[in-house]
């Protein structure tokens, strides 16, 4: 599937998800392997209310390839949040 289409499907109905995906689209997305992209496409087909708890970590993702993607998404967001807030640390539970 074209990268542009996948990128567009990261536009979500919940602001929470838009915000978490934004830094990932800027820094990790272009390096994903074909297998990772395929896994992402399937993950993006979830409903937002199911996806958000998984991305946030309150509900474990049922697939290990999704867990690995979520770790990357969260790492990108964590870096951005730290830059914005200018504080080290900042608890997260990716």
């Amino acid at each position: 599937m074209e990268k542009g289409r996948i990128r567009w499907r990261c536009r979500r109905a919940l602001l929470e998800l838009d915000l978490v995906f934004r830094p990932f689209l800027a820094e990790g997305f272009d390096q994903l392997s074909d297998a990772e992209l395929a896994a992402l496409v399937e993950m993006l087909a979830l409903e937002d209310h199911d996806l958000w708890p998984m991305v946030h970590g309150t509900k474990p993702a049922p697939r290990s390839d999704w867990q690995a993607l979520i770790a990357k998404i969260q790492a990108a967001h964590r870096r951005q949040t730290q830059e914005l807030l200018g504080t080290p640390g900042g608890e997260t539970n990716a």
Binding site: L15, L19, E91
Partner: protein, 597 residues
Amino acid sequence: MNVETYTFDAVIVGAGGAGLRAALQLAEAGLRTAVLTKVFPTRSHTVAAQGGVAASLGNSTPDHWHWHMYDTVKGSDWLGDQDAIEFMCRKANEVVIELEHYGMPFDRTDEGKIYQRPFGGHSMNYGEAPVMRSCAAADRTGHAMLHALYQRNVRARTQFFVEWMALDLIRDQDGDVLGVTAMEMETGKVAIFHAKATIFATGGAGRIYYSSTNAFINTGDGLGMAARAGIPLEDMEFWQFHPTGVAGAGVLITEGVRGEGGILRNCNGERFMERYAPNLKDLASRDVVSRAMVTEINEGRGCGPNKDYVLLDITHLPPETILKRLPGIREIAIQFAGVDPINEPIPVVPTVHYQMGGIPTNYKGQVVVPKGDDLEVPVVGFYAAGECACASVHGANRLGTNSLLDLLVFGKASGETVIEDIQSGNLRLKPLPKDAADLSLARINRLNTATSGETVADVLLDMQRTMQKHAGVFRFAHLLKEGVARILQVEERVKHTFINDKSMVWNTARIEALELENMIEVAKATMISAEARKESRGAHVRDDCPDTPEFPNGRNDKEWLKHTLWYREGNRLTYKPVHLKPLHPDTQPIALAKRTY
């Protein structure tokens, strides 16, 4: 260039609650109906709505549609049109029960009726006591609503064009609307959707502000398209702010947190709401709390390195309470503020939430514009519903849960009106003008051929910062004036944006550039309308129009009890009267009064 044309009875732009409800009406009547949407229907922003949908069913407490009408008129600070408000409140039970029949999983009472909850601003017996009027499906009301409507549309054979972006409205020499141009994202191809009727249901434009609770999809495309086609935008100065959005991110922290005992503090640790609202304190109404927060920040008592937010403190609550009652909020604070609210307070700022203004319509969903002496002449073939439309039921301030109701009532009404207009022979397929797609093709061509310019992201950010600073929750004459000049400068920069990626297929940079061209129209309309309105009313509060005996709450009914209409051409403003008369002659109007709670 040869542009492909698709022909339908009706084309609907938008597949949120309003678009899907309108589509259903048409498709079930056997009309050939197309729905265009930028994202998959159940990814529309309606999914984010949790609080519920208002209807005076009276299942949990006594209720009456006229009480609901009173609350809505008062909430609107008397700027809402009373005929449209009566229509909406009377129709509420019908559309909610219909939705139940479509399979919406509403919460139930023990007897199996729809369970109803209380919600801010909704009352019993004309303000006497809180009423239980909000119908919800757990905390997924919007999501459940979209699913029920989408399934039903699939059954009715509505034809969906998913991941298509409408670009421009097509009007002929008579000013009649004949459809839209749209771009298929997958190919980059532009096509014409030619129809007897066009319904806009494109949602709000909350992303024009820097701090917004709205998802990125809310770029006001319908308003931009209407404005470019010469349709005025109504009451765009009125934006509802939610007091507690996470600073920097915008994600909403519900009122429930203050309900559980959350306290707002300034940089001195002071519980400043005690000074502004000695009785209700942190639980005062949204606008009072928002303005108090902004006053603290403006007077130098904000927190953080830039002193630009205040703190929402729940560290005094037992951790068990936070974990049990507010788990979602804790997640949001950890994710977006980097703080665990069990140990540290959450940085918050008033955040834009809902657009009261929009494309002017009457209660039937017809788009209406001034023509000669008649200030409300329907534009043939053009209808609008939902957050992009201004019926006007929310006036200067919307009540929570009235928006989902607006989607259902006016989505359905616009569909019904289209059916009537087609059956009565008022609407037919008029021939397309030769230049139908020229404007859209020229816009795309500019982006394809520009070899230099500013990035979309840079101009977008400046637009958002300008809106936030100059047309925020609390408005100042000099800032508004300066804001008009600034936003016109931003407009010039929007004309010269540049994208690196010139590919046809799935070019998200191009989509974002086209969205910015829509957002700037909404931004100009907002700033210019706000600068001109020299009173305080509802969500539009000016520092130079304070509460006085002559002008209670700063509201000036003598000069400003009227709707604003902003035209793109020349940034011209005109005004039209508010409908103070209800729909039915025997309905008691809601007399003007000071808005106090």
